[in-house]
């Protein structure tokens, strides 16, 4: 029996393609966001608002879904973006090679911002780099304040947290202090926005942040 030390990161293959995607975005001066959340948290609503709120910014959207439904891509198109739909064929998250294939359909030099809408899932998407500049998690009030404690890898693996549906705070028991303590424990450097896509509250601060990241 011969022992062979390996010590090779299993996600390395994905990370290499993510780096290729990143270089492709950067060489076209495009800023990239990877939006993740559980189903129903408001990813598509936030993206629709962002497209409309960032007037003058040219936006491309890549939508990932487990089934063939392309309604989210249509919503993005109606809001004024160029959109590509990825059917993951049941896969629970997007991977870098899927984005590599999708980027071919976007005219990157004609864009300022690419937003990737990941598959609705609070478990695995954070483990897979896509090549975007920032990972954004959309949390929402009806999900409950215990989510950082139950899904630590997602809350640990993002750069930005958008807390959506804050207009529901008067109607739903939600311990914001407990929620934020969990977030801070997992991710002390995360940038947090509190918004409502229903009333528009807090969205301007989010738009300003995105606008500040765009190259031109």
């Amino acid at each position: 029996m011969t022992h062979i030390p390996v010590v090779q990161n299993i996600l390395n293959a994905n990370d290499i393609i993510a780096e290729v995607n990143r270089n492709k975005l950067e060489s076209a001066h495009v800023f990239g966001l990877n939006i993740m959340a559980s189903p129903g948290a408001g990813k598509t609503s936030l993206i629709e608002h962002t497209i409309r709120g960032l007037s003058g910014v040219r936006v491309g959207i890549i939508n990932g879904d487990t089934a063939g439904y392309d309604g989210d891509a249509l919503r993005a198109q109606n809001a004024g973006a160029t959109a590509v739909h990825i059917n993951t064929g049941g896969n629970c998250h997007l991977e870098a090679h899927m984005i590599q294939d999708a980027l071919v359909y976007l005219d990157l030099p004609a864009l300022d911002l690419v937003i990737i809408e990941n598959v609705g899932n609070l478990v695995c998407p954070a483990g897979w780099k896509l090549g975007t500049h920032h990972n954004v998690l959309v949390a929402s009030i009806p999900e409950g304040a215990d989510k950082p404690y139950k899904y630590p890898s997602m809350y640990h693996g993002v750069d930005v947290l958008v807390i959506n549906k804050i207009d529901l705070l008067p109607y739903i028991p939600f311990d914001m202090d407990y929620f934020k303590k969990g977030v801070m424990a997992l991710n002390p450097k995360v940038t947090v926005f509190e918004v409502s896509c229903q009333t528009g509250q807090g969205l301007d601060a989010w738009y300003d942040w995105v606008r500040g990241k765009i190259y031109r």
């Binding site: 029996m1 011969t2 022992h3 062979i4 030390p5 390996v6 010590v7 090779q8 990161n9 299993i10 996600l11 390395n12 293959a13 049941g90 896969n91 629970c92 998250h93 991977e95 478990v123 695995c124 483990g127 950082p148 404690y149 630590p152 890898s153 640990h156 303590k181 969990g182 801070m184 424990a185 997992l186 002390p188």
Partner: protein
């Protein structure tokens, strides 16, 4: 579901390091903060290793518990057993110190007769 491409990558890494030798054991290190499940990897392994130099190789899973160090009181603890916030002083000012590992640690191959 996502363990299928992962298991394929594990197989590729192992075959790449075996240089054609028969692989008997593969040692994996998996942190509890990753979303990879031993049983799922094993399930796909039994299927996709078929017909390769790694068929029948035993997978050894070394799980690394997610741990944190409290920046307020300095003590370390295990998140799964003791919770996310510091179990000693209740602080949320903590740093994750382990649990994100995910790699092929080593393989064992059969001696090749000269």
């Amino acid at each position: 579901m996502h363990e299928l491409p992962i298991t394929q990558t594990i197989l590729d890494i192992a075959l790449n390091h075996a240089h054609g030798a028969v692989i008997t054991d593969i040692r994996l290190t998996i942190g509890d903060l990753t979303s990879f499940v031993d049983d799922s990897i094993q399930f796909y392994w039994d299927i996709i290793s078929e017909g390769t130099g790694a068929v029948g190789a035993k997978l050894h899973f070394k799980r690394i518990p997610a741990r944190a160090k409290c920046e307020a009181c300095g003590r370390e603890y295990t998140i799964k057993e003791e919770g996310l916030l510091c179990p000693h002083c209740g602080s949320h000012r903590v740093a994750i110190t382990a649990g994100k590992e995910f790699f092929v640690d080593s393989i064992e191959i059969q001696e090749q007769t000269p």
